[in-house]
Amino acid sequence: MILLEISQFLGRLHPLIVHLPIGILFVILLFELLGYKSRYSYLREGIPLLSWLLFASTLFAGIFGYILSLDGDYPGPLVSQHQWAGIILCILALGMALLQSDWLQQKRRLPVFVQTSLWVVIALLTTYAGHQGGSLTHGEDYLSLEVLREQQRPKPDSIEAALLYEDVIQPLLIRRCGQCHNEGKKKGQLSVTNLAKLLKGGKTGPALVPGDPEKSELIHRIKLDPSDEKFMPTDGKTPLTAEETTLLTWWVKEAGAAEGKSLASLEVAPEIRSIIAKQLGMEASNGIAATKETMEQLNIPAGLVEKADSTAIQQLKAAGFMVRLLLREPELLDITLPEGTKVDWKALEPSLGSLSKHTIWLNLGGNNLTENELQVLPQFTNLEKLRLHNNPLGDEILPKLEPLQRLEAINLVGTRITEAGLAKLKSAGTIKRVYYWEPSVK
């Protein structure tokens, strides 16, 4: 048993050891080429020793590689090609080492350029074998120009717009399982790169059974005890998180393990939605997501276009208003007219009107306003906070407040509103907080 484990351990060292002959070979090539310059010709003297080292390291790499091929779950033809490339390299290395030996050098001396070209051939063969080795470890499509040209699905704008399989599940599976289960590597003959391959499954049958997570091998395997031999991902790789497991199970069970389904078409429980949001990278900190869903929960007026009229904002600012953004999508505004600012209300009415729906806070305090100036006020139907304090306004303003159905707080400090007017205001509508107080004047 222990012997077996040692051999397994040594086998796994193969990918490490193979870099030794590669490095030595490159040094040999460097010395060989530099040797053409008389200044560096002494370097050639090191090549015979390096050749022996090359042979020894190639031999070891080969033996370890053979051990690895015994227990590794690698596709046959590629392994045997790689194996033969290794054996040939080993023989060539031995040949080169012998060629350089004093004994042979005395008998027959090869022309220098022939020797160089032999090294180049060996280097090329090494490159070929190395590439095959890489393909065995990472999958055949790991290092190919196709990767560069691959079209990435554009990131969806919102959770609703996302496709469940294409945008969430597929990237998740490829990220977490694709290192071993891809088109090139296919451990257990399973590839997770697309849905058809998943339904077809691998050695142990279909990986997914739509609607039935219990029978789905993939779900079964990731839910096993991590110490179980069949637990995936194997070999001590990081297990899937509880959230990822929940999401995959839900996808198989509730969403029928199907592709092409948008999230808008599905009934998604809040906890699943938050997992999906996280997977899509749409979740902001502490669950304060900047997504549209949460905006609805934040009581944002419906039917707003995203952007407020920017020329109107410029006009108001030029007239002395302070316009502050309270939210970006959709744009919600806080408009303040600083105390004692004289403005031409008639001229600004169109601008104020066009921003009225976007404005949720409005402060017009201390500007000597009467009902006449505030003709535009009833248009501000999305207002939540309104400050009209310190203006000579009486009860005649009250009808103008009636359309403001979302108004929560109104400040009427220092106005001429009567007790009766206040009572009327408090009894009607949604207003929760009315501030009224008559400041004493010195």
């Binding site: 902001a284 900047a290 806080d334 600083p338 806070w361 501030y435 400041p439 010195k442």
Partner: protein
């Protein structure tokens, strides 16, 4: 000045090269060239034009600058609740025992040593670590329940008790620092070591100003307090943010800002013209240097000019009726006192100054705590409550957040000898009480619990970074998305910590 400048220019100098040298520091040069060369190599490797555009983009764009703007342009991240903040900083570490954390069980334990099971080997300061016993001492002052919320408040705070239904008291605050300076610095800047921007500076940087004529971050320090522990201007400093975001400290006295009046014999008529020319000269000079400090100075000259008219108006309490002074208490007629500063704060908030911070020192009662606390509370209680009442009746509490608190709490045991009527308390960062009121927080609410000794938190701990995260949250900022890059790394007010305390949000 300009002449000497030109005469020293080395041979081969050209304005373009000079500009390039000033704008390309080592780090930016390395980043750009590495990224640029790398992507060019990749592009030619692939032999297609797919990346063509982005290469030229990388090569010409100043990536770090645009990211900074991107971060600012994403603010606000959510609809804010608070438009302004007034932070009443009680410097020195007010005792929670004689204010808000009522611990009746301690009355039976007077003088007994603090059980080890409570202390759990926690560190003490060097001031009391050598004490033979750590005798438990209850509050010498009585507590009563007030308001609809039936909140326990000490008899030292009769006025605050009247507004307790407006307060959201957090009894489970905790900090990491055990000494004053690191603890205050931690509270104000999110880091125990000096050098980071303070909360007000971050807010000024992130949200700008709502009043062009006043600084967005103003600091008032009470003159009528025992200056037992020092305060440094860096507590309201801008750190690595641009200088115009630093807190502007008003003097405690009759003239909060000096030199606003024109000198004798000058009517100030051509002031604006003079400043305009000065700005042109400064801008011209700075074209070569691109020094942000010069830009900050230009902005500050202009602010100072606008303050010449705005400050006398906002600072004058001549028009305040007697009733206001009666509300804030007798001290309020004496400029520079805590009470007078509270009136000033209200007036600044009325003008939409975004962040007003008051400091009142003298809460560091290692000895003679009963007398000390009585004095401190007397100096601040009425004005604090008056500020709440005044903001409330003016409708300003609707969108103003009021914060009251110190940098840490005090120990349950007496520091030094315990007398029946006299004791002291040492620093205790493991739990302490502070409160918030107004925009976005629950009113008449208590959050968090401590054990019977007010030594450990047993429910809902709130870290200093949590408090800061919540403060930013109420102002519409997600603290995790609000960063500033300095010396090659991104900084946040909350470092890599902090979570919004949802339990106190209304």
């Amino acid at each position: 000045m300009c002449d000497s400048h030109t005469s020293q220019k080395p041979s081969g100098w050209s304005p373009d090269l000079d500009q390039l040298q000033k704008q390309l520091d080592r780090r930016r040069f390395l980043t750009r060239t590495a990224m640029g060369l790398g992507s060019i190599a990749l592009g030619s490797l692939m032999g297609n034009t797919l990346l063509g555009k982005s290469i030229s983009k990388i090569a010409t764009e100043d990536a770090s600058l645009s990211l900074e703007q991107e971060i600012l342009q994403a603010i606000p991240h959510l609809v804010p609740k608070a438009k302004r903040v007034v932070y009443l900083f009680m410097s020195g570490g007010p005792s929670q025992f004689e204010t808000f954390d009522y611990k009746p069980k301690l009355l039976d334990m007077f003088g007994q040593p603090l059980p080890d099971s409570v202390r759990q080997g926690q560190r003490l300061t060097g001031m009391s670590a050598g004490q033979a016993i750590l005798p438990v001492v209850p509050s010498i002052y009585k507590f009563n329940q007030y308001g609809k919320s039936n909140t326990w408040v000490s008899e030292l705070l009769p006025h605050t008790a009247q507004v307790v239904d407006e307060l959201c008291i957090i009894k489970s605050m905790y900090s990491e620092a055990i000494n004053h300076d690191p603890a205050i610095t931690f509270f104000q800047t999110g880091n125990q070591l000096p050098g980071r921007p303070s909360i007000g500076s971050w807010i000024s940087y992130g949200l700008g100003t709502d009043n062009q004529n006043l600084p967005s971050f103003i600091v008032l320090v009470s003159k009528n307090a025992v200056k037992d522990q020092p305060l440094y201007a860096r507590l309201w400093g801008n750190g690595f943010l641009a200088s115009e975001h630093q807190g502007v400290q008003f003097r405690a006295g009759k003239d909060p800002v000096l030199f606003l009046d024109n000198p004798e014999g000058y009517d100030g008529e051509d002031r604006e013209e003079m400043l305009q020319s000065l700005k042109e000269l400064n801008t011209y000079q700075n074209e070569g240097n691109k020094d942000p400090e010069v830009e900050a100075r230009i902005a500050q000259y202009e602010m100072a000019y606008r303050m010449q008219t705005s400050i006398p108006e906002v600072m004058s309490v001549k028009d305040e009726p007697d009733e206001v002074f009666e509300l804030y208490g007798p001290d309020s007629r004496d400029p520079g006192t805590y009470a007078a500063n509270c009136i000033l704060a209200r007036k600044l908030l009325e003008k939409d100054v975004k962040f007003v911070q008051l400091y009142h020192q003298g809460w560091d009662h290692h000895g003679s705590l009963p007398a000390g606390m009585a004095k401190q509370c007397k100096d601040t209680d009425q004005a604090t409550a008056a500020l709440i009442k005044d903001l409330k009746r003016r409708g300003l509490l609707e969108d103003t957040l009021v914060i009251w608190g110190g940098e840490f709490g005090r120990t349950v045991y007496s520091q030094g000898k315990l007398f029946p009527d006299n004791y002291g308390r040492d620093h205790h960062p493991r739990n302490f009480a502070m409160w918030m009121a107004g925009a976005g927080v629950k009113a008449g609410f208590s959050y968090g619990e401590t054990d019977d000794f007010s030594y450990n938190i047993v429910k809902d701990p709130v870290h200093v970074h949590d408090f800061q995260a919540t403060l930013l949250h109420l102002m519409g900022i997600d603290h995790e998305r609000f960063t500033y890059k300095f010396q090659g790394r991104r900084f946040r007010l909350t470092d890599v910590h902090g979570k919004v305390i949802k339990g106190i949000l209304s």
